[in-house]
């Protein structure tokens, strides 16, 4: 019995997004209620899918009941279910923040675009077809273009044009890679690819290597891996706060796709690619982490600091992914969950601060902001999480990554620990300018600001997620290790597609 629930995370936001545009375009209150209800529904579905994925190793939904590899399939396994759940959790926090801070009222169609964005993200995580992955990438990108320039303004539009241009080039590269792969193997179904790549004739291998590297390049653009990270700081720093927080899961799509393709189609045992992918990814990931850490230390604004922290977290995640062992992948997944929640919380705090200050430059101290004690506390907790200090989950995540890469300890441990030190210094510098020096400079009279209860609830919610992730790290890791083992083994994933014999 095929479970129709697998497609629900795509259908629900798609239908709700359309309804929001068609029926509720003039009424913000209705939009808020229905959009939040749909996101809560998505969370419920995601929890059910995670439960389902825990019971069966892999389940396939054949769209239109066309058999694979001819039709498009959606595949539910632990890895995809986990990413959908992470998206839903983040979406609720971001949506509450957008409502609480009134960001959704600063332009039109925030909620509709938000739902379309969720549709694209969930679809990209669930699909088992490489060309369908491209289509869902485009769905989530086109929604993200709208969200990125939400609220308008000169800088935002300009950064938006750069962002769109960069991603259009990425999409074109994706198409070149897919067409080459199709030309060589005659299939775009991921499970079918995994089977066919193993029996590739010698003469096709060189061309396939080119296609594989192009594919990984596209995912590296999405995952902001050096040297393809240039779009990220400008985009994230200029995007509205809640949108930047939602984008925290977008970089993870690149990481997810590298795990999926790297573990299933291009594992190091593949004759055609060998260790090529890992050899390219590892140095790039190390440089990414360092660039992110130096960026945090030298950031000129709070928004850019959060953006470079996101780059650094992708560096750490990719270091673990590039090892391509189940243990390292499990550590990477744990770190991805942590860094999504922590990174999003940091963007929300940056927005809380920016909306209370005259500007968000870190070069000069301004008088204390409204609610400075509470926001400073939030900043402190999130800084601890992002930098990877105990007691929060960032520490456990980095520990797991270092443990998984014990055999390359000399290089990788020193890079991770050195980068952590730089990030701590960067956060200390930003915190002292924003919160401490503020008391020494200027007026004593308390600043006032519109109360934003819901916005604080959302930010605290993300931090609560980090605490839960820390407290239950044991059971979570047991679950993730099984997820990583299944992703690397791949037998269940391929078997679930029910491919015809010798096609």
């Amino acid at each position: 019995m095929m479970s129709h629930w697998i497609i629900a995370p795509v259908i629900l936001p798609a239908v709700m997004g359309a309804l929001l545009v068609l029926l509720m375009r003039g009424d913000l209150l209705l939009q808020r209620i229905f959009s939040t209800a749909a996101t809560v529904g998505l969370l419920g579905i995601a929890i059910a899918l995670v439960w389902g994925a825990t019971q069966t190793p892999a389940e396939v939904y054949f769209l239109g009941n066309w058999p694979a590899p001819f039709g498009i399939v959606l595949v539910l396994d632990r890895l995809s279910a986990l990413m959908v759940l992470l998206t839903a959790l983040l979406a609720i926090a971001v949506q509450l923040y957008a409502i609480g801070s009134n960001w959704d009222a600063r332009g039109r169609h925030f909620h509709a675009l938000f739902q379309f964005q969720l549709m694209g993200i969930c679809g990209a995580f669930l699909t088992g077809d490489a060309f369908n992955l491209f289509v869902f990438f485009e769905v989530l990108l086109i929604a993200s273009y709208g969200l990125m320039i939400h609220g308008g303004g000169k800088d935002r539009l300009r950064a938006g044009v750069q962002y769109v241009a960069y991603n259009l080039i990425g999409s074109t590269l994706f198409l070149f890679a897919l067409a080459t792969i199709y030309g060589i193997t005659g299939t775009l179904n991921i499970a079918d690819l995994a089977v066919k790549v193993q029996t590739l004739p010698e003469g096709e291998m060189a061309l396939f290597r080119v296609a594989a590297v192009m594919l990984i390049l596209v995912f590296a653009v999405k995952g902001a891996l050096v040297p393809l990270q240039f779009w990220l700081p400008g985009t994230y720093a200029n995007a509205p706060g809640p949108v930047a927080a939602l984008f925290a899961v977008m970089t993870k799509i690149g990481a997810y796709a590298v795990i999926r393709f790297g573990a299933l189609v291009l594992p190091p045992e593949t004759a055609a690619t060998g260790t090529l992918i890992a050899d390219l990814l590892m140095p790039a990931a190390i440089v990414t982490l360092l660039v992110g850490a130096v960026g945090v230390l030298g950031a000129s604004t709070f928004g850019r600091l959060a953006a470079f922290a996101a780059i650094a977290s992708m560096g750490t995640a990719f270091i673990a992914i590039a090892a391509f062992t189940p243990q390292a992948t499990a550590a990477a997944l744990y770190y991805i969950i942590h860094s999504t929640l922590a990174g999003a919380a940091l963007f929300l705090i940056a927005d809380l601060v920016a909306s209370r200050r005259a500007h968000d430059r870190l070069t000069e101290a301004l008088p204390p902001i409204a609610g400075t004690g509470l926001i400073a506390g939030l900043f402190m907790a999130t800084g601890i999480a992002v930098a990877g200090m105990p007691p929060l989950s960032g520490f456990i995540g980095k520990l797991l990554v270092m443990e998984a890469l014990r055999d390359q300890a000399a290089l990788i441990w020193s890079v991770i620990l050195g980068a952590s030190l730089l990030i701590i210094l960067g956060f200390a510098r930003a915190g002292s300018t924003l919160f401490w020096k503020a008391h020494a400079s200027g007026s004593r009279e308390p600043a006032t600001h519109r109360p934003e209860g819901l916005a604080f609830v959302a930010t605290f919610g993300l931090l609560a997620g980090l605490v839960v992730l820390t407290v239950f790290s044991g059971p979570v890791m047991t679950w993730l290790e099984e997820a990583a083992r299944l992703a690397h083994d791949g037998a269940d994933y391929i078997a679930a597609n029910r491919l015809p014999e010798g096609n």
Binding site: E138, Q162, A165, I169, L175, A179, R304, D360
Partner: protein, 115 residues
């Protein structure tokens, strides 16, 4: 025919890349369009170049042209067309708001006045 298509693809991509590296928005958009034309043709020929064959299997014919790339290229054309429309609108908005159509951010922007 192979030589003709391969050189056309190469030319389109080269011209597109050159234009993408320009400093103003308009040439960049034209460059993106050229590259998306190139990739559309590239997808089309990934099912191999054949002429005079039906796209659906027919026992009477000598073979058949692969129909899947034709479906893929339709999707790719629609998406690249839509994306080009989006970037044109955004570039226009940025031009109207800031008064010039330079692609890069100048120092004043970098200093950060976002709110």
């Amino acid at each position: 025919m192979e030589l003709l298509l391969a050189s056309a693809l190469g030319l389109l991509t080269t011209a597109g890349l050159y234009l993408i590296l320009r400093k103003r928005t308009f040439p960049v958009i034209v460059g993106l369009t050229l590259i998306s034309y190139a990739v559309n043709v590239f997808i089309f020929i990934s099912g191999r170049l054949v002429s005079g064959l039906p796209p659906i299997y027919n026992p009477a014919a000598a073979g058949y042209a692969d129909p899947l790339p034709q479906a893929l290229v339709l999707t790719a054309i629609v998406i690249s067309f839509g994306m080009t429309a989006v970037i044109v609108m955004m570039a226009l908005g940025a031009f109207i708001e800031s008064g010039d159509d330079k692609v890069d951010m100048n120092d004043k922007d970098e200093a950060g006045t976002t709110k």
